[in-house]
Amino acid sequence: MNRTSWFNVVSLTLGFAFLYIPMIILIIFSFNESKLVTVWAGFSTKWYGELMQNEAFLNAAWVTIKVAVFSSTIATVLGTMAAYVMVRGGRFRGRTLFSGMIYAPLVMPEVITGLSLLLLFIGIGLDRGVLTIVLAHSTFSMCYVSVVVSSRLVTFDRSLEEAALDLGCSAPQAFRLVTLPIIAPAVISGWLLAFTLSLDDLVIASFTTGPSATTLPIKIFSAVRLGVSPEINALSTIMIAIVTIGVITTSLISKHKMVRQKREEQEAVRN
């Protein structure tokens, strides 16, 4: 079988070009000497230096991280609880309706989510700021956590929980000592998903933010409207670097774990 046919080569090249050329250009121009974004004038790291001096950007980054940490933690707790009830709660009245309602925000246009949250916050007289963004982000990202966790719970061997009960655990103990440690990888990936969703959200954050809280996406968006500066390129390059390192590390760790588990299972069969 000829695996390197011209068709495969072309589609691979096109696909990767489509995905990565914009980012590569952005990274290259973040090292540009010139202030003009489109003209190359030699290599320099000066924009990274200037970025570090820019209070507004640093503040926005700090706000973004705070919002992401808090909202993804809240979303993980709520999403895991929702998933547990949906998968384990048995058949109660309105279960189908509830599970449908949990997933509805996944397909809801963000504009609508943002607008409705804004109306709610105004309605109950909550001052808009970091708190409102955290609440808004928890709301929409808990659906994602719930999806990730419930797909793990569906394949979870129920008799493990029954064994825990049988050996003297109360139901909360069984959850804490058996269920949670086993589904932990799904809970963690749910948290990471919620974290990244919160990091790059622009629409909902713009609706629910106040003058005191500007997240990084909002800051970048408003800065770009005044013209793209090389500083933004530098900032984006840093974000790309962080995400890339994160993704590579997690996939290496999980691959290493899988390989080790497989090897140990084979050894167990041999002995």
């Binding site: 061997d157 008799s159 493990l160 029954e162 064994a163 825990a164 009960l165 049988d166 050996l167 003297g168 655990c169 109360s170 103990q173 000592l177 058996v178 440690p181 086993i182 588990q261 140990e264 299972e265 050894e267 167990a268 069969v269 002995n271």
Partner: protein, 375 residues
């Protein structure tokens, strides 16, 4: 050496450890357990045997506390356990999938139940070591469940469920996941451990051989009802119904009508133009009553000439031979079209086999070989 017969079920003084009183369990309109009353005695190895969906697993899960009966009481040592949640019951269960906690080591798995009941640390250590010794797992204490083989996992599951010294151990198809050879070894290990610990075992299985091997009594179930409870030999030799006779082992069923021809002896008319068969039974049958005569294949002799003194002899043609190594099963077609199975030990090499396909042979059996069952 004298052996004391272990038959508490025949002793009216003996109090049962478990008593099901008119227990019914419904799931919606489906009746899983149908008005069932049974007694299980201390130190018994009690097997619930039946096809899938007969209610045996539901019965066991009610003992563990995972299901509550719709009607009726379940008594454990004189106490009604229906309102008691699973974590407060003096029963432990060994799950079919073993349900070992994958994130804990073998040692921690076995210690899990002991830690929950707040046992002091040195006692936990001693008890876990004892369990590891009992199940010959000392070498594997530090391993995780995925680092040991299937047979070892089975022993961990057993050790974990025995660690709390339950009054009653429930085993849900405990050997189902093992291959045949390991299963047979493990059956004897289970009996050995049951004897050593003196725990009452209730085992659920669909494998009749397994039930016969390990159990002190076997309960054959069908459609939520107990059909017969008896020791393995009585279940096999004197089944009380066609269902039990057919479910346990191989059997030939001949339909006919009875006529009394002596004390506890009946002649069975089974086909026009054929001599009636003779069978003894201590159950009364009226003249002309429809009946089934159940005969095990190994109790039927096969010969080339008509045997002189056999109570029953019929002639037929060899239709098929199933060669099983140590024995062969001959399928013999009678002139009436009925096919009878007869087993013979292969005492000679197969090339010297006396009968082959299409040979005319005689089948014979004694009056007490078969069991007469009412329709």
């Amino acid at each position: 050496m004298t052996t004391v017969e272990f038959e508490p079920w025949d002793d009216p003084q003996e109090k049962p450890l478990i008593h099901f009183q008119n227990v019914t369990k419904r799931f919606g309109s489906f009746v899983a357990i149908d008005n069932l009353t049974i007694d299980i005695y201390e130190r018994e190895f009690y097997a619930l045997l039946g096809p899938s969906g007969c209610g045996k697993t539901t019965l066991m899960r009610m003992l563990a506390g995972f299901e509550t009966p719709t009607e009726g009481n379940i008594m454990l040592a004189g106490q009604d356990i229906v309102p008691v949640p699973p974590n407060k019951r003096a029963t432990n269960m060994m799950f079919q999938s073993y349900a070992l906690f994958p994130h804990l080591s073998i040692w921690e798995n076995i210690a899990f139940g002991l830690k929950r009941e707040g046992m002091p640390k040195p006692d936990i250590n001693n008890r876990v070591e004892e369990m590891l010794r009992l199940t010959r797992l000392e070498k594997f204490a530090k391993r995780k469940p995925h680092q040991i083989s299937g047979g070892q996992r089975q022993r961990v599951a057993l050790a974990r469920s025995l660690a709390k010294a339950p009054k009653l151990l429930l085993l849900d198809e405990p050997l189902g996941a093992l291959d045949k050879k390991l299963r047979q070894e493990t059956q004897f290990e289970l009996m050995d451990i049951q004897e050593k610990t003196g725990t009452t075992f209730v085992i659920v299985t669909h494998d009749q051989e397994e039930a016969m091997t390990v159990a002190s009594r076997v309960a054959v179930m069908d459609h939520g009802k107990i059909i017969q409870v008896a020791t393995p030999d009585r279940i096999y030799e004197t089944p009380n119904s066609v269902y039990v006779a057919d479910f346990i082992g191989d059997v030939n069923i001949i339909q006919g009508t009875t006529t009394a021809n002596g004390e506890d002896s009946y002649s069975v008319a089974w086909a026009d133009g054929q001599a009636p068969l003779t069978a003894s039974s201590n159950q009364p049958f009226s003249d002309g009553q429809k009946c089934h005569l159940a005969i095990r294949p190994e109790k039927i002799a096969i010969s080339a000439d008509k045997p002189e003194e056999a109570a029953n002899a019929v002639q037929g043609k060899v239709l098929d031979i199933a060669y099983l190594g140590n024995i062969s099963t001959y399928h013999v077609e009678l002139p009436t079209g009925v096919v009878i199975k007869a087993q013979a030990a292969n005492t000679r090499r197969i090339s010297r086999r006396s009968y082959t396909w299409e040979d005319t042979v005689w089948l014979s059996w004694t009056a007490t070989a078969g069991v007469l069952l009412a329709s």
